[in-house]
């Protein structure tokens, strides 16, 4: 998996499924692979391109084993709603965060780009999410990020808010980019996963 050999991984999984191997066991292995992938990314050996390919293989495998996972009622680590805020259409970073969260056992609902606060709130309610992730790359949509955070807070939902995206990593004053009401910031996908893990283990 971590070596991104699509053919081999898919064949192995297909055989596993056919031979009735436990789907949660297979899932564990896949997650292990994604973890190694994340590690290689953090070490600089892998780039976004490898993560994209890894996410794709992971998705294909999930498509194969999901039916039996549902049957066996395998639980997720937590539910995450993620999206890019209104006015902003950048999604490469958000997609990677979503893929890595999935790879770590979270159930991720990606609502897409250019989404108004109301749609975040709606989705959080619908899926009863534990965490919401907001992505933002433009300075001109920082206001939109602020608004989304405050609308989510005002909705009274019990939810952890995680923010991220390029606008926070280009070295401008942290006072300018501070978002009141957010619970945490992730510099990259690996940090996002660590934050999410921390939060779900902290909540009893």
């Amino acid at each position: 998996m971590a070596d991104l050999n699509e053919e081999v991984v898919l064949k192995t999984i297909a055989e596993g499924v056919k031979n009735g191997e436990s789907s949660s066991g297979v899932l564990e292995e896949l997650r292990g692979g994604m973890e190694i992938l994340g590690q290689r990314f953090a070490d600089g050996e892998y780039s976004l391109a490898e993560l994209m390919m890894g996410a794709e293989i992971f998705r294909e495998c999930m498509d194969m084993i999901e039916p039996s996972l549902e049957k066996n009622g395998v639980s997720t680590r937590g539910r995450v709603v993620i999206g890019t805020v209104k006015g902003d259409v950048h999604d490469l970073g958000k997609n990677i965060v979503a893929a890595m969260l999935r790879g770590s056992g979270f159930e991720v609902h990606d609502i897409g780009v250019d989404k108004p606060p109301e749609q975040f709130v709606e989705k959080i309610r619908e899926v009863d999410a534990d965490i919401v992730g907001l992505s933002c790359l433009l300075t001109s949509t920082l206001g939109s990020m602020r608004k989304t955070v405050s609308v989510i807070r005002e909705s009274g939902l019990d939810i952890k808010i995680m923010i991220g995206g390029g606008v926070f990593s280009r070295g401008i004053e942290s006072t300018v980019t501070r978002i009141e009401g957010a619970d945490g910031f992730g510099k990259d996908a690996v940090e996002a996963v660590n934050l999410a893990k921390e939060w779900v283990t902290a909540t009893p």
Binding site: S47, M52, T139, S140, R170
Partner: protein
């Protein structure tokens, strides 16, 4: 201090990695100039002469700088030369925001074969034709000849070099734009031979395109965007396999033919900096943004390649003139005055304030003297 160099000489000295009378300043002013002048973004996008006029008004009011970008051509150029559907301010968008593109992909996996058989122009013609428009060498020539008088105006009447003639987009970069970065990333693993074959079949024409466009407007700077080959997007293995060998040839050829490549490198290039040592010495400009460690870049590339950058867009929109001044001051202290062109990073945001942009020039003229 008094100026002893002309803008052209100042830029050339920096490209030679030497110290001019003061650090040259290059600005890529865009839609903000229209908004400062009360012009609609639609007019800036659709009418090159009007766009040039508001940039000139800003240029005069600020007190001038050393290199202007050809942003007045941008709207018309993109509308004709790119297959993605452009969204025009005042037509498809509000009238006070820049042009945007639909990010809908226009190239499929099968189109690598079109590139292999028909080359770079062939691929673009085909993709643009699918959107019901026409593109070939003739339409390109008409377009650039139409821009030429504005180039001459800046060069002759204003005495300022325009620092972008044509554009050479290396194949991998073009594919990621036409087909989306996500799809091309998967192609690197699923059909590596196809991608490579398409790269090899098209890169020579990419050189030609940049050179032809530059000749038509009489400007010897060729813009070479490479952001999507940065370490952010490509691992060293992929970089080697799909990008660097042909990129190196592209730059060598441009230099051999007398052009100055402006290598535009957004995102993080820090791990790849040593590769630029393999490119021709003192012939290119390397444009970086704050994601790349500029101080390290100077350490590695000092004396070899002129660095260009990098006042971030965020400061121009949200900061104050004092923020701009301290950024510029520190930048000049850090990278020195030999082989450095002070510039704003990449595109100037449309909500950049006039005072902040003026502050780049003022600070350059305050701290940049040798």
């Amino acid at each position: 201090m008094s100026e002893t160099f002309s803008p052209r000489e100042r830029l050339q000295k920096a490209i030679d990695c030497q110290t001019p009378d003061r650090v040259p300043i290059a600005l890529r002013v865009e839609y903000s100039a229209a908004l400062w002048a009360g012009m609609s973004c639609r007019d800036f996008c659709c009418y090159p002469h009007k766009a040039s006029d508001v940039i000139e008004a800003a240029f005069d009011k600020i007190g001038g700088w050393d290199g202007v970008d050809n942003t007045w051509t941008q709207g018309v150029r993109f509308t004709h030369l790119e297959p993605q559907k452009p969204m025009i301010p005042g037509v498809d968008l509000p009238d006070d925001v820049p042009m945007e593109f639909s990010s809908e992909p226009s190239m499929t996996a099968d189109d690598y074969d079109v590139a292999i058989k028909q080359g770079y122009y062939g691929l673009y013609s085909e993709l643009i034709a699918r959107r019901g428009r026409k593109f070939n060498r003739r339409t390109e020539e008409e377009l650039f000849l139409g821009f030429a008088p504005i180039y001459r105006y800046w060069e002759e009447k204003k005495g300022v070099p325009v620092i972008r003639g044509g554009m050479t987009r290396p194949p991998v970069i073009a594919f990621t734009l036409l087909r989306t970065f996500e799809e091309v990333s998967k192609d690197y693993f699923r059909r590596p031979d196809k991608v490579l074959e398409a790269v090899n079949a098209t890169y020579k024409e990419c050189i030609q395109m940049g050179e032809t466009q530059s000749r038509l407007v009489g400007c010897n700077y060729v813009f070479v965007p490479i952001s999507r080959a940065a370490s952010t997007f490509m691992s060293e293995r992929l970089f080697h396999k799909f990008f660097f060998p042909t990129f190196k040839e592209i730059i060598e050829q441009l230099v051999k033919d007398g052009f100055t490549p402006r290598i535009h490198a957004d995102a993080d290039w820090t791990p790849f900096l040593q590769y630029f040592l393999e490119l021709p010495k003192r012939k290119c400009i390397l444009e970086l943004e704050p994601m790349t460690d500029m101080v390290k870049a100077k350490k590695i590339l000092g004396g070899h390649m002129c660095l260009f950058g990098d006042v971030p867009p965020d400061i121009l929109s949200l900061g104050t003139p004092t923020d701009v001044e301290s950024y510029v001051k520190k930048r000049i202290e850090d990278v020195g005055k030999d082989g450095f062109i002070l510039a704003n990073d990449d595109m100037m945001p449309h909500d950049a304030s006039y005072e902040n942009v003026k502050a780049i020039v003022d600070a350059g003229k305050k701290y940049g003297w040798s």
